[in-house]
């Protein structure tokens, strides 16, 4: 069942990532990325990361992608036209991406027997849930980085407001 789950949602993610690459209209690319993120959330859950699966759906496909879709509709982005620069990038870029994929998958598959198997669901500790483990780690050992991220978000909000403000 775990293998079937992996192949269904992994295949869905790859299919819609390809669709992202092939579509000409930005709104189609953004909506394909939502499907990729949803299927990745299922894969996170199958690896025992329940909190991150929920955060993936709420933060990524909920908040970030809605922001993307808003901006695409606000700027009324149409179909992209192909230019001379994009042909050069297509000739040089696609083999480069294929080479990176070949190197990575060769390393992963040749060392695969050392990595072992994954078990469906949380394998860390059956007694406590994933979210309480993460929160206890986050609010004890990693309290300072956690608080620093709140400053980061504050700076990002201020930066976004200043950048998007109309100039006079």
């Amino acid at each position: 069942m775990h293998l079937a789950l992996f192949f269904i949602f992994g295949g869905l993610a790859v299919l819609f990532a390809l669709n992202l690459l092939l579509q000409r209209h930005p709104i189609n690319s953004a909506l394909s990325l939502v499907v990729v993120m949803m299927s990745l959330a299922v894969l996170y859950w199958s690896l025992g990361a329940e909190f991150l699966a929920a955060a993936q759906i709420i933060v990524y496909s909920g908040a970030v992608m809605v922001l993307f879709v808003f901006v695409i509709m606000l700027l009324n982005a149409g179909e992209e036209e192909h230019t001379r620069g994009s042909k050069v990038a297509a000739i040089a870029g696609l083999p480069g991406a294929a080479a990176i994929f070949c190197v990575l998958s060769f390393v992963f598959l040749s060392e695969g027997h050392k990595l072992g198997l994954s078990h469906l669901g949380g394998s860390l500790d059956e007694a406590t849930s994933n979210i309480s483990q993460i929160s206890s780690l986050l609010f004890t050992d990693l309290l300072l980085p956690f608080e620093v991220t709140s400053i980061l978000i504050l700076v990002a909000i201020l930066g976004a407001v200043v950048l998007a403000k109309k100039e006079r």
Binding site: L47, L67, V71, A90, P145, I153
Partner: protein, 100 residues
């Protein structure tokens, strides 16, 4: 029982598709979307290794990557709006003020 290497190969596929989209696309919003795809592929790698080593550090790292990605999306989209206001285009080939 799925080998961990399958998850890593899936992440490699998604990452290379993100690179290809980043290089081929000419619309600045689509380029930004492909960066998000690459970030998600790396997150999958972190979670697969966290599962394999039975440690939570990888999941904490993904949490921080999500926070940084959300902040980056807000600032990046504000920059795109400012760019569109001054140049009236989203095509990166027409934004060549710094090109010699």
């Amino acid at each position: 029982m799925v080998p961990i290497s399958y998850y890593l190969v899936l992440a490699a596929i998604l990452f290379s598709l993100g690179i290809a989209a980043y290089l081929v696309k000419r619309n600045v919003i689509t380029i930004f979307i492909s960066i998000e795809l690459m970030l998600n592929a790396v997150n999958l790698t972190f979670i697969a290794f966290a599962h394999q080593w039975n440690k939570l550090n990888g999941q904490i790292f993904v949490f921080f990557v999500m926070v940084v990605a959300a902040a980056e999306a807000a600032v990046g989209l504000a920059i795109i709006i400012a760019l569109f206001r001054s140049r009236q285009t989203l095509n990166v080939d027409q934004v060549n003020l710094l090109k010699g």
